[in-house]
Amino acid sequence: MNLTLQNFMSSISTESPSSNGKYAIEARNLNLYYGSFMAVKNVTLPIERQKITAIIGPSGCGKTTMLRSFNRMNDLVPSAHSEGEVLFMGQNINDPGVDPVEVRRHIGMVFQKPNPFPKSIYENIAWGARINGFRGSKSELDDLVERSLRSAALWDEVKDKLQQSGLSLSGGQQQRLCIARAIAVKPDIILMDEPCSALDPIATLKIEELMRVLAKDYTIIIVTHNMQQAARVSDFTAFFTMDEDRAGYLKEFGVTTQIFTYPHEKLTEDYITGRFG
């Protein structure tokens, strides 16, 4: 039975046994390929609702590929394909009938480099909402823009210059604008791919504190090279590494305090103590 995700979601009024229970999204036995190259091998990774899960690991271990599989961003790479399942609301998002655009409305993304639209701060929020079906009045749209900017801890800094270009903001502010844009469409999950790598330490800490606040309402998955950041900000940590065939795989997954104080795997220990990677 092929359903669009939208149809599927509207067909369930309450959490059914087929949904993912306490998990917002869940990879099961997932293999990801670029052509014949296996980039990620046999990953089973359950992501808890309204928690922050960090994906860490050395360069080339498939962290970003893994992250992008959670909202079908890999579809944009022609040679990419997958095996296994990514379950969201009990539905495999890779099923042929599922609309990837609809998936991305529920599972938003914030990228490494802040990428606001070359439009006003106001329009950065409003435009995304409109194309995702927002049909409210002007004042309702104003409310949405304000709410989103407040949620992204940016409102006080921009409320007097909403018509200025989003590109006029500092890097940290631009990234928070992108977060505001992502949450304006009320996603369930926000994927963050190295969201602070282009930011200075102060802007980084601001985003991290913002993530903690956002985790009260949203599920967040973050990929980061900065394991201190993973330690500071996340509830769960998934450590990826790669095999001799260069395929990335999940070596250890657990509560962040456990991973950073007594990892069970020697490779994890070596990585978090800076002895490898």
């Binding site: 330690a231 500071r232 950073f260």
Partner: protein
């Protein structure tokens, strides 16, 4: 720039220190009270309660290590504070062992009458507990002045200890059959004297957190000072 996650974790750790402190204060007073009344039933309960104290200490220690590992307070006051919390929970847990030791002494004495009425030992417990209470308060408030002043009270505890010691030696000399019972009371007094000494260590950590200075607070009646010349 606030670090709300780290600050919240520190606030939680401080709350937990206050919980552990109140456990120690109560168990110390209760142990001495049980000894005074020769209540072996209460002593048994207090002896077993040390497991609860130990578990709380390890819980705080684990939380503190996890906070250091995940929040990385690599510099300054936050790091000094967390390092001091690790030290202080160790001190508190040792004080819990002293209370447990007094409960054990109570069980060992059993129904036998005390060789003297217990007046100075409960007084020692009262002063030690007050010192501890003030020391933890000073730590929480990062109050260096109070922290510096508390160890002077240790002199009172030492004076009471010396008095108890002299009295018990006199009793033993007068009637050697009292040696076991007198010796038990000497241990109880010694435990309380050690407890007050450990309060000084907590005060030193408060000074360290605020000033960065790691230094022993000299006690005015340090009995060994004459050997240092």
């Amino acid at each position: 720039m606030p670090r709300e996650t780290l600050d919240a974790k520190i606030r939680h750790l401080i709350d937990e220190i206050l919980v552990l402190d109140s456990m120690i204060e109560q168990t110390t007073l209760d142990s001495v009270d049980a000894l005074k009344r020769r209540d072996t039933e209460a002593a048994r309960r207090l002896y077993a309660y040390d497991d609860v104290v130990n578990a709380k200490r390890f819980e705080i220690e684990n939380d503190c290590i996890a906070t250091i590992a995940t929040q990385q307070p690599v510099m300054g006051k936050d790091l000094r504070l967390l390092a001091s919390i690790l030290e202080i929970v160790g001190e508190l847990e040792r004080m819990g062992d002293y209370a447990k030791g007094i409960a054990k002494i109570c069980m060992m004495i059993g129904d036998e009458p005390h060789v003297k009425p217990l007046i100075d030992i409960p007084r020692m417990a009262e002063i030690s507990v007050k010192m501890l209470h003030r020391a933890i308060g000073a730590f929480v408030a990062r109050d260096v002045e109070t922290a510096r002043s508390i160890p002077q009270q240790d002199d009172e505890v030492d004076a009471l200890y010396n008095q108890v010691y002299r009295e018990l030696v006199a009793i033993i000399l007068a009637n050697p059959s009292t040696i076991d019972r007198a010796n038990h009371l000497m241990w109880a007094a010694h435990n309380l004297e050690r407890m007050a000494d450990r309060v000084t260590n907590i005060c030193e950590r408060t000074i360290y957190v605020v000033t960065g200075e790691l230094k022993e607070i000299e006690s005015s009646d340090d009995e060994y000072s004459k050997f240092r010349e």
